[in-house]
């Protein structure tokens, strides 16, 4: 036998860092056999997760989400549009996911990252199918004007589990969203001046009651790596590059399955493995829900 045995023999005399670079898979498998990961996590543990609300002052709603060192900045800007004929009393949500060159050594200017369109598609599918946002709430004047919600998510640091972090930042940005008060002026929607908000002057705001969106079932997700019989929750980019079979489960707050992705990979998953992933996600949803609640209430105290 060639390499694997050679690595076995060398491992006793080689420095740890050199071994990690030369035989990454061996290095990981050795850890996994001890039920621990190189960053001292147990297999099923997700990394430390934080959310900070209102990170972008120029946006109507924004949030910064961090899972380990993976960082996502989501910001929402509201613009006015004429609704389409098919759905005259509905607004629209447009979601963009960007991976600027700062986020990873793999992305170069002018050449968009391969992962970006995949995550973008997953995000808009998940958010639209979860029913989190009621598009009817975005209507301003039936058939005439409705909100166009631009959600832009920037990956500031890419270290694995991009979709999980992106979805978390998107959800947080939506719960941070403050819809501007507007009124109808000459067929056009205009911003209500600050001083007129209190005293009820000649212009009546058209959306006085609707400053916040009521979010329906909030989707949360967890990505796991399947490798042999191991299931690793919330992988880093190093783990993703070595072991390639990923399963992403999206559940809403009442534990209903929103979506499930297993885009190929070398490992064929047994249904039991998928069920384990779902169970892990169920736990993670509880955690994330609490983190989000804390972030929201932290915002209100300020």
């Amino acid at each position: 036998m060639g390499l694997p045995n050679a690595s076995e023999d060398l491992s006793s005399e080689m420095e740890v860092d050199a071994f990690r670079r030369l035989f990454p898979l061996r290095y990981f498998e050795r850890h996994l056999a001890e039920s621990i990961r190189p960053d001292a996590r147990s297999l099923s543990r997700a990394r430390n997760t934080t959310i900070s609300m209102g990170a972008v002052a120029s946006a109507d709603g924004s949030a910064l989400a961090k899972i380990g060192s993976t960082t996502m900045l989501a910001a929402i800007k509201m613009e006015v549009m004429t609704p389409s004929l098919e759905s005259p009393d509905e607004g629209c949500v447009s979601i963009d996911f960007h991976m600027p060159p700062i986020c990873s050594p793999l992305v170069r200017p002018g050449r968009p990252a391969e992962a970006a369109p995949v995550v973008a598609k997953q995000l808009s599918d998940t958010i639209s199918s979860s029913g989190m946002i009621n598009l009817k709430e975005l209507s301003l004047v039936g058939g005439k004007a409705a909100w166009m919600v631009y959600l832009d998510i920037y990956c500031l640091d890419a270290d694995g589990a991009l979709f999980d972090a992106a979805l978390l930042s998107a959800v947080a940005a939506f719960s941070n969203l403050q819809i501007p008060t507007v009124s109808l002026d000459d067929g056009k929607i205009v911003m209500l001046p600050e001083e007129q908000k209190e005293e009820n002057s000649e212009k009546e705001p058209v959306n006085k009651e609707k400053r916040k969106l009521t979010l329906g079932g909030i989707p949360f997700s967890l990505t796991c790596i399947l490798h042999k019989n191991y299931i690793l929750a919330d992988p880093t980019s190093e783990e993703e590059s070595i072991m390639e079979t990923l399963v992403t489960v999206v559940l809403d707050s009442s534990n209903q399955l929103v979506s499930l992705y297993k885009p190929g990979g070398a490992v064929l998953a047994y249904t039991s493995a998928v069920q384990d992933c779902i169970a892990l996600t169920r736990q993670r949803v509880k955690e994330l829900h609490q983190i989000l609640e804390e972030a929201i209430s932290g915002m209100e105290i300020d």
């Binding site: 800007k77 509201m78 549009m81 986020c103 050594p105 205009v190």
Partner: protein, 279 residues
């Protein structure tokens, strides 16, 4: 054929609601007189509070985050790493710079595009400070993302759907340059000195240091300097508008003094990061 200024011929399908009672001209500028306040009530010769932190992006060789008032910038440095295949052999290192904006950096949602002009200015401001001989045949990439552009929120025009030029605050560039030099230091790239950059706007007879977008829109001239404070050398300098020589001297001195102070802030940020690491 000249590239036509971006007059958006295709009418935008959506628009931002704007407060119609807002005056197009902010009250800051009334002729030549001295008795007006800056929009953020700073003194004329007072910079915005500056904040730097290194290590914003873990996957980069070095990185820094800078915040000057509303301007927020992240710079990542990658490398020295292999140059692009098409590049010819070079016995000194290459520097590659790119500056881009987020779609929400400006008050009106933009395209989030690359800023070619800033990229080339950033390159020129840094190339004189980096010891390129220390990494022959390889490239150092300096990438900047402007998260938020300077200028207070929702200062805008009456008819936005006609807005044909995106107004980036030129005042963002000094922040990008200073932040990039902190990121380069964080990445351990050899430099002669840090590069600190400051701009001034000239309105009437007054010089305003570190202007925000509103002030820039009414300025008569502007001067931006990037310098190496300890060596007292200017690496980049751009001037627009009409300046008499004495007036120019005054503005340059003002910038140099401010850069020296900014350099101290940058240095203390790096020292702090280094001492944290040792502990």
């Amino acid at each position: 054929m000249a590239a036509k200024p971006s007059t958006t011929t295709t009418a935008k399908a959506t628009y931002s609601p704007i407060d119609p009672t807002r005056k197009t001209r902010p009250p800051i500028f009334s002729g030549s007189d001295v008795d007006w306040l800056r929009p953020d009530s700073r003194g004329f010769h007072q910079c915005r509070p500056a904040f730097f932190r290194t290590g914003a992006v873990n996957s980069a060789s070095g990185s820094a985050y800078a915040e000057f008032g509303n301007t927020k910038v992240i710079v990542s440095v990658f490398g020295p790493r292999e140059s692009k295949k098409a590049m010819m052999y070079s016995n000194i290192g290459r520097l590659n710079c790119n500056v881009s904006y987020t779609t929400f950096a400006t008050p009106i949602r933009g395209q989030g595009s690359d800023h070619k002009d800033f990229s080339s200015m950033l390159h020129k401001a840094l190339e004189g400070a980096i010891i390129l001989e220390t990494f022959p045949k390889t490239t150092v990439d300096v990438f900047a993302l402007v998260l938020e552009s300077g200028g207070s929120i929702r200062f805008l025009v009456k008819q936005v759907d006609e807005l044909d030029t995106l107004w980036f605050a030129v005042g963002d560039l000094p922040v990008v340059i200073s932040c990039a030099s902190v990121a380069l230091a964080d990445a351990g790239i050899m430099m002669y000195d840090l590069v600190a950059s400051v701009s001034v706007s000239c309105l009437g007879k007054n010089l305003l240091i570190d202007p925000v977008l509103e002030e820039e829109s009414y300025q008569d001239g502007s001067l931006m300097i990037a310098c190496m404070p300890s060596r007292y050398e200017v690496t980049q300098l751009t001037v627009t508008g009409e300046w008499s020589t004495p007036h120019f001297n005054e503005a340059m001195q003002l910038c140099l003094d401010a850069s020296a102070k900014l350099g101290k802030i940058m240095r203390s940020c790096l020292k702090e990061a280094a001492s944290d690491e040792q502990e």
